[in-house]
């Protein structure tokens, strides 16, 4: 512990104490500190600070009230600021209701802003957590419609060898292995990456070594690197794990490294284990049209991204001309990695940031409004001070300090709210969002809060100060506040109009998002999500080395689950609708030869077992379903296509009996026996929904990982445990993952919209309440200021009706002007919401009308209380006070 007393405190004392007592007081403090230090070093420091603050508070020249009004030139700036802060605290303590109201409303708004900013900050604003992250790009093939498409392995190899501007590049794909222990199997999310993956990101393993080129061949493809989380959770952070072998999905693999805890894999935030890609160019899945890999690259430091992008584009065009039958589009798309990984969330996050700043503006306006109302009542106080010699600048400085102190209190409240509320929001963030682990309150967030607080505080302090500066002080003294009221009144009306306008814009946004979600949820997904249990099951490991064993396992699972009471039917599928797992194939019709097979329409593949289509209630509208015997015969090749795919392949023709092929010329032709209703697979808002269904025994090979779907006769949640047990009884070693009801799967596919709507709705509710509080405040103020006039009017025979309409007219003026401005603002800004909308236009008139109606109704309510108070004004009291 430092032997010297706290230096900052001593410095403050030296600056601020009057000279004649400076040495004596500081000396006494030091002496007391020294006496205590040996026994209680910490307490001594605390006590020193306490003493120092008390000394500053009591010893700064003569009483405060006078200090505050002596011209600023005679005090140091620091002294006058301190005096102002103390004065402000006293003023605020004397008006607890006002202080609490302001601190609570502004605090809520600052808290909400802080929460949104701390989510936006790591995801959109901070660079990705890699060295020179701006040099890392994602590379895609350009599809024929100009969109980005994943790359085949051969294309990746060619681009890698041709592009000189790349320092490192890597290809990667999804991998979900099962790690077997002595008596369990755990499914984890992994990634299959080419050897330069971590080098491209610029991150090295914490323990062991990185992948090398020698690892990345089919023969040597048996090493893995673990995430730090998996290393800690499953292997107790024992470094001896490096070099040991693990049974991973039935294959023995050696752990060669562990990544550092700080490593955040933005391509696959849930990844816990990595293995090398290990493709040979002769592998069937390494072909040019096998577009299932993603590619990233690190551009050399000296090369601008644009020229790297141009080089890649040129190389890709060259490759396409060399292999014309493998490419439909041409060229390559190069996108900054950060832009790529945040592309889906960027619009919603920016819109939320904008909306919460609106809320902050409204809350700030509301506090200014309340301050102005108080300034009217405090007119006399200011006048007296001015009469005692305080300059206008001094009074303005005072008001400014009040504003800053008030907003600082609100900022403390806001940071508290943010600390409490942030986990609630992060929990609800959509899955797979990059950089969520970095969401938190760090110094950047605090700097942002401090800056926002300062701005709001300046506004809260300056607006009333300008009004006070302009007022003719002696008029105030003579007239009891009326002239000050005039200037302030216009300012307050303008503020309320602004609040109403902003609140309307927020509410229009919330209504648009709400109506979109309603539209989305009423979309016919093509299947019936009610009463369905889904879970991923697996047949991995040495015992399932042949396809027959895998199919036997699937049959057994279906049998035991179907035998459970309460289960209506059971099916298996490789792709769960809306489950986020997409596998598209180009579909070729036998009777429609194409010059380039790449021009074939895409179909979403569903390899299914059991009564999948009946269980999901996917209707077959023409032809028939697979029969049991047919599905079990691997020599038969039958297929069911969805209606859109059928229309695309055979427009105006009968698809039944036609032949189609997927997966390349070596694959068999399959006969179309049925046409099914389209289902929404990529999302309820999917634009493409063309599917084909193939029985699992007739696909290219056995699929070891499938999703079990179970239709129950009653509440599916109550049967989940029984189904899980039944599956486990077939093979206790096989992991079960992603257990959910289908309703939950559907809800999760819209989680981003739900979160956006929830926050928008919360912000606009607060905005409306604040705006209406503003209207109420202005009207209430006006009624009490005009009490004399109102009293005179009723004495002269005005009916209560006339008086009510007098107040209502004033309120209506504020609301109508605000609403008009708000409608204009909503029309101007709602286009930023366009990407978040579904089924309605950004300029949806219904949403605007609904929002206007709601705000008008609430504004009317805000007018009622002041109007009733106006009616009750006793003419005699009002007249007597004149």
């Amino acid at each position: 512990m430092n032997a010297n007393p706290p230096r900052v405190a001593t410095w403050l004392l030296e600056q601020l104490l009057p000279e004649e007592s400076r040495d004596a007081v500081i000396g006494d403090l030091v002496e007391a500190y020294d006496a205590m230090r040996s026994e209680h070093p910490v307490r001594a420091r605390v006590q020193y600070w306490r003493e120092a603050i008390a000394a500053l508070a009591s010893l700064q020249t003569t009483p405060h009230n006078v200090t505050a009004y002596t011209p600023a030139t005679r005090e140091s700036l620091m002294q006058s600021v301190l005096a102002d802060v103390r004065h402000a605290l006293r003023v605020l303590r004397r008006a607890p209701a006002f202080t609490i109201l302001c601190a609570a409303t502004l605090g809520l708004a600052i808290g909400a802003t802080t929460i949104i900013f701390s989510v936006v900050n790591p995801i959109l604003l901070r660079p990705l957590p890699y060295p020179d992250a701006e040099q890392i790009v994602a590379v895609y093939e350009r599809d024929r419609d100009g969109s980005a498409s994943r790359v085949g392995y051969a294309t990746y190899k060619d681009l890698r060898s041709r592009a000189r501007s790349l320092q490192h590049s890597a290809a990667f794909g999804d991998w979900q292995p099962t790690i077997f222990g002595s008596n369990d199997g755990e499914r984890v999310q992994g990634q299959r990456v080419s050897w330069e993956y971590f080098r491209t990101l610029g991150v090295r393993p914490l323990l062991g070594r990185d992948f090398t080129e020698a690892d990345d061949t089919p023969a040597t493809n048996n090493v893995v690197i673990l995430s730090h989380a998996l290393f800690t959770r499953r292997y107790g952070a024992d470094p001896a794990i490096v070099g040991r072998t693990l049974n991973i999905s039935g294959v023995t693999r050696t752990v060669v490294g562990v990544m550092p805890p700080s490593f955040d894999d933005v391509m696959q935030p849930d990844a816990q284990i990595w293995r090398v890609l290990g493709y040979a160019e002769s592998d069937g899945w390494a072909c040019r049209t096998c577009r299932h890999l993603q590619m990233i690259a690190r551009v050399r430091e000296s090369v601008p991204l644009a020229s790297a992008a141009a080089e890649l584009d040129g190389a890709a065009k060259q490759i396409a001309t060399e292999h014309p039958s493998s490419y439909a589009g041409e060229g390559a798309l190069t996108i900054g990695l950060q832009e790529q990984v945040t592309r889906n969330v960027r619009p919603i996050l920016l819109v939320l940031l904008g909306s919460v700043i609106f809320l902050l503006l409204i809350a700030g306006a509301n506090v200014i409004n309340l301050q102005l109302a108080r300034a009217v009542r405090r007119g006399e106080e200011f006048a007296v001070r001015a009469a005692l010699g305080a300059g206008r600048r001094r009074i303005a400085q005072q008001l400014l300090s009040e504003g800053l102190v008030l907003t600082s209190i609100a900022a403390l409240v806001g940071v508290g709210i943010a600390a409490a509320g942030l986990p609630l929001v992060t929990q609800r963030l959509p899955e797979g969002l990059p950089r969520v682990s970095a969401v938190g309150l760090d110094w950047r967030v605090f700097a942002f809060v401090a800056a926002a607080t300062l701005l709001v505080g300046l506004a809260v302090g300056l607006v009333p100060a300008l009004g006070a500066g302009r007022a003719r002080l002696f008029d105030v003294l003579r007239g009891g506040g009326r002239s000050l009221g005039g200037t302030h009144h216009r300012a307050r009306a303008a503020l309320v109009i602004g609040e109403v306008a902003l609140a309307l814009m927020l509410l229009v946004g919330a209504t648009l998002l709400g109506r979109s979600l309603v539209r989305l949820m009423s979309v016919d997904a093509g299947f019936d999500a009610s009463n369905l249990i889904t879970m991923e099951v697996q047949a991995a490991g040495a015992r399932y080395d042949s396809a027959a064993h895998v199919f036997a396992n699937h049959d057994r699972i279906r049998e035991v689950v179907a035998a459970l009471p309460g289960v209506e039917s059971v099916g298996l599928t490789t792709q769960l609708p809306l489950g986020g797992n997409l596998d598209r194939y180009g579909v070729i019709a036998q009777d429609k030869p194409l010059p380039n097979p790449e021009l074939a329409p895409d179909g979403e593949r569903f390899t299914i077992g059991g009564d999948f289509m009946r269980t999901m209630r996917i209707d077959v509208i023409r032809g028939r379903r697979f029969t049991g015997a047919e599905a079990r015969d691997s020599n038969v090749k039958v297929v069911i296509v969805s209606q859109s795919l059928a229309n695309h392949l055979w427009p105006g023709e009968d698809p039944l009996g036609k032949q189609l092929r997927v997966g390349g010329p070596s694959r068999p032709w399959r006969e179309v026996i049925g046409v099914a209703e389209d289902i929404r697979h990529t999302g309820l808002d999917a634009t493409v929904s063309q599917q084909f269904y193939v029985p699992e025994r007739q696909w290219f090979g056995a699929e070891t990982q499938m999703t079990l779907v179970v239709r129950t006769t009653s509440d599916p949640a109550s049967l989940v445990g029984a189904v899980r047990e039944a599956v486990r009884s077939v093979d206790p070693l096989q992991p079960i993952a992603k257990v959910a009801t289908m309703d939950q799967v559907v809800a999760r596919s819209t989680s981003q919209r739900r979160l956006g709507l929830m926050l928008f709705a919360a912000f606009s509710t607060m905005a409306i309440l604040l705006a209406c509080a503003g209207i109420y405040g202005v009207l209430a103020g006006a009624v009490s200021e005009r009490a004399r006039e109102i009293g005179l009017r009723s004495a002269l025979g005005a009916t209560p009706r006339a008086i009510v309409s007098l107040v209502l007219r004033q309120g209506a003026r504020l609301a109508v002007v605000g609403l008009l401005l708000g409608v204009g603002g909503a029309f101007a800004l709602s286009r930023y919401l366009r990407t978040l909308l579904f089924g309605i236009e950004a300029h949806d008139p219904v949403s605007v009308v609904v929002a206007v109606g709601v705000i008008a109704a609430v504004a009317l309510l805000a007018c009622v209380v002041p109007a009733r108070r106006a009616v009750r004004v006793d003419p005699m009291t009002a007249l007597r006070s004149e």
Partner: protein
């Protein structure tokens, strides 16, 4: 008439003869009354008492163990003593005969 704080500080200063300054005055008050006055309060009171002429002060020698800062020693002036006497007497008279356990024994 002296304020209560002034009385206490004045009495403590008196107790310390002519050598009283902030820290021992604080200690004396703490020991006698259990009240933990801050040094700031004590100095402020002393400054006020000095303005009224009830105490006189002189700067002491700078000593190394206080960070090289001099003490300001306070001494009760005759006027202060007179005032103190009046105050205490007044207090005693006000308490006389009342069953508050303060009757002279």
């Amino acid at each position: 008439m002296l304020g209560e704080l002034e009385q206490i500080v004045l009495l403590a200063t008196l107790r310390l003869g002519g050598d009283g300054y902030g820290v021992p005055i604080q200690d004396a008050i703490r020991k006698a009354t259990g009240r933990d006055l801050t040094l700031g309060t004590i100095h402020k009171t002393l400054v006020r008492l000095e303005d009224k002429g009830f105490v006189a002060s002189r700067m002491g020698e700078a000593s190394p163990h206080r960070g090289g800062r001099a003490k300001r020693h306070y001494e009760v002036t005759p006027a202060g003593l007179k005032q103190l006497r009046a105050s205490v007497r007044a207090l005693r008279r006000m308490a006389a005969g009342l069953p508050v356990g303060l009757e002279p024994t």
